[in-house]
């Protein structure tokens, strides 16, 4: 679980730093991988948020997936502190 939380934190950081409008396919793939990892660990909320963010970015709506990205950040922070 520690590994997937760290990966989500890194993803949030990379996406915020480079910008959702410029998110490339590598970041989308990483999000999909994180979603798969969450699924394996039964982290359904994490899986949904990662998948929604990846889908939003694939659809080209960078600005539109700001909300899911922020929810993902909140989720990662809460998981880190309740782990």
């Amino acid at each position: 679980m520690e590994k997937v939380i760290t990966e989500i934190e890194n993803l949030v950081c990379d996406l915020c730093f480079s910008g959702l409008d410029c998110a490339g396919s590598d970041l989308i793939k990483r999000l999909e991988r994180a979603a798969a990892l969450c699924r394996e660990l039964n982290m359904t909320v994490g899986e949904k948020l990662c998948r929604d963010t990846a889908d939003g970015l694939s659809a080209g709506g960078g600005r539109d997936c700001a909300k899911t990205l922020c929810a993902l950040a909140c989720y990662a922070e809460s998981m880190r502190n309740t782990e």
């Binding site: 915020c16 730093f17 910008g19 409008d21 600005r63 700001a66 909300k67 950040a73």
Partner: protein, 448 residues
């Protein structure tokens, strides 16, 4: 208040006045100006004579001391014809007068508590959407493309948020500070922290929009009483959101609870930019300005004292009200802190919107610092603390001016044999920090 004035108004204006008046409680008027202006306004009001009132849509026009005032629900939006650019005494006087209409027409028996008035206020959707839009813009273009202009927008939003949206205002200031650090290529810039802050800004605005204002609002001073305290130490702090201060750790002997008392200075104004320097924090520590009898925090450290009529909030933070009086007595001893404080408290439930709520204290008996190593790359001290009741490893103290003396203290004492007495520790934000060493009748503040 004795009314030495009369309203000249039609029924519509009086009923609008009754509605608006509910928003102009004494506490809010003082907050919007200051105590001096409020007192002066009441004095003006005493001899105001006739006050004409007329409704203008949702606003109320009043004339007081020859000045025309336009009263609106939000006191900071009220307008006055005088030269003052901020909330002037004419606005305060008119608002205080209109408040009596609310008192007489809508609350005939008892005064409506201020807290309920705030709850009745609808969220400022315009401000909250501006907050969300700003966060969304930053997320869309990326922190790397943010400039000084974005930092200034965040500063403006912080000012606009004021006391009502203090939580959002603090996040705005922190975000602005991170952007400045990034543009200055400062080593203190952390992309992860900056990302967390931008997301927090969006989430805070979203929560406020969804009516979570009560949760994010600072709790009022609901606990009152008198009691016997000891001050077991004090420590300085500085936040990214632009505040610096000194907090004294107080232990209530009868209730067996820790309380804190903080003296705070905002450092986001140009004139107080140096508030966070150790020199200024020391000045704050020695400033004789607290409670009714003007005691200083430094005079409390290591002492027993009685606090009469104290007020505290739910997080056991004491108010600085002048109604509280403090009688300092003899020196405290380590025996004043009971044995049960040696039990390390369990972690509180994590709350994303209230991280500071998880503040606890405990003591380590016969303490010694271990393994202090300064990490030059990370600019901080790795160390441990051990004692009869605790073995704490992987402790970390970041290098900054306020921590300089503590780092030196730990380095000098690391590896020494266990000391007699107690080490007071603080748990905050998931980390553990030392505060003071208490041995016999001597309390040594590690940070000062």
């Amino acid at each position: 208040m004795d009314s030495k004035y009369n309203f000249i108004a039609d029924e519509e204006s009086l009923s609008l006045g009754a509605k608006l008046g509910a928003y102009f409680g004494e506490e809010r008027l003082i907050k919007a100006s200051n105590k001096g202006t409020y007192k002066r306004a009441l004095k003006d009001l005493g001899g105001a004579g006739d006050i004409p009132l007329s409704a203008e849509g949702e606003a109320l026009r009043a004339e007081i001391a020859g000045e025309k005032v336009l009263l609106k629900k939000d006191i900071s939006d009220c307008e006055c014809g005088c030269a003052a650019k901020t909330v002037c005494r004419h606005i305060i006087a008119a608002a205080a007068a209109v408040n009596t209409l609310a008192d007489s027409q809508t609350q005939p028996e008892e005064e409506k508590p201020e807290e309920k008035e705030v709850r009745a206020e609808a969220p400022d959707t315009e401000y909250l959407s501006e907050l969300k839009e700003t966060a969304r813009n930053i997320l869309a273009k990326g922190l790397v493309n943010c400039s000084q202009a974005d930092a200034e927008t965040l500063d403006r939003l912080a000012l606009k948020g004021g006391a009502r949206y203090a939580a959002a205002a603090n996040v705005c200031r922190s975000c602005g500070e991170e952007i400045r650090l990034m543009n200055a290529r400062h080593a203190g810039f952390s992309p992860a922290r900056a990302a967390g802050l931008v997301c927090r800004l969006f989430n805070t605005a979203e929560a406020l929009e969804g009516g979570k204002e009560d949760v994010l609002k600072k709790s009022g001073f609901s606990r009152e009483g008198s009691g016997e305290f000891v001050c077991a130490g004090a420590f300085p702090w500085k936040t990214e959101s632009g505040y610096a201060g000194v907090t004294a750790v107080l232990y209530e002997i009868d209730l067996k609870e820790f309380f804190t008392y903080a003296s705070v200075m905002p450092s986001f104004y140009e004139s107080t930019a140096n508030a966070g320097s150790l020199r200024n924090l020391l000045r704050l520590m020695n400033s004789r300005s607290h409670w009714q009898n003007d005691v200083s925090i430094s005079s409390l450290v290591g002492r027993r004292f009685t606090l009469m009529n104290y007020k505290a909030d739910e997080r056991r933070r004491l108010s600085s009200t002048k109604r509280t009086s403090c009688v300092i007595k003899e020196r405290m001893t380590e025996g004043d802190l009971p044995e049960e404080l040696c039990i390390i408290p369990e972690r509180a439930e994590y709350d994303y919107f209230s991280r500071a709520a998880d503040e606890r204290f405990f003591t380590v008996r016969s303490p010694q610092f271990t393994g202090a190593v300064f990490d030059k790359a990370m600019q901080g001290l790795h160390y441990g603390a051990a004692g009869e009741n605790a073995l704490l490893s992987d402790l970390w103290l970041k290098y900054e001016e306020t921590n300089e003396k503590a780092i030196r203290f730990i380095e000098m004492n690391s590896g020494e044999r266990p000391k007699d007495g107690l080490l007071l520790m603080r748990i905050f934000g998931g980390r553990i920090y030392p505060i003071s060493m208490i041995s016999g009748e001597t309390v040594t503040d590690i940070f000062f």
